[in-house]
Amino acid sequence: MGWALALHGGAGRISKSSISPAAREASETVLQEFLDAGCAALSEGKSALDVVELVVRLLENCPLFNAGVGAVLTQRGTVEMEASIMDGATRKSGAVSGVSTVVNPISLARLVMEKTPHVYLAFEGAEAFAKDQGVETRDESYFITPGNKERLAKALEAGLVLLDHSVSTDGPEHGGSREVLQADGHSGRDYPYANGHAANGHPIAAGAEFE
């Protein structure tokens, strides 16, 4: 028995041919770096709660991953980030959704857990709470990367809702594949709605890779 730590940067249809050696090396380097940071904190006796927040903040601040800076875009080109945290010792938890200016949503989730009687704040309420708490915020443009703008443009063109599981290295600019949220059984090829939207205006989720 002793401390242990695991972290992830997303899962999906990540084939070996879809990631360049340089992109693979970059992602492995940061995973190693963040693992080392978490291990060092645990070795120093920091609590599991402090360590998971620390590591997720590092991941949020890294543009390679789909969280914080580098978060993917909604169909309107906006950023809506979400995060949650849970302390197993007390079973206390906190969560936020729909935040678009908070640099580290995970820390805002922890503040929800520790500073409010609630578990979950969303959208305007979460943003207002962030201001009240004085957490770091940035203009929405801070979070938007060129790769994610391009990815959204291609998704809109193809009419697909994409599962962005991971890092920008998996994006079209790297020859990568994108996973598609499967819901209706249609493939991209036989997809019946040319504009990518159903009659109700909702985006269609089709069962095919974006590319």
Partner: protein
Amino acid sequence: TVGCVAVDINGHCAAATSTGGLVNKMVGRIGDTPLIGAGTYANEFCAVSTTGKGEEIIRCLCAKEVASLMEYKYLPLKEATDTVIWKKLGEGNGGLIAVSSTGEVAMTFNTLGMFRACATEDGHRQIGIWKDACYDDDCP
């Protein structure tokens, strides 16, 4: 999506998950990440953070399911995560990372890959993307 789970020297577990969601998602869409029990869960037995197709993970209540299998079915961590990922969450839908209060680690996924890393106090370390990508040790 990104996430981290940890158990500290006192045997306390914690989990955290953060994401931007889906490319081209509807404005207002909420995925599994902020939903306690779906994308994130921790109790006195384990801590879990998930990633993948959010809607499927919500339907499966993946993170809590792992904890429940440990608490009520007395499954070890690896068996609990295998059960949830391979028998409950449809193939190709995602993965999770988990630690137990006794220091076990599991990184289980049924997609082609998952960016992941883990370490334990006894010196075990692993960084990988694909199933066969173990660079420092055998997979937990």
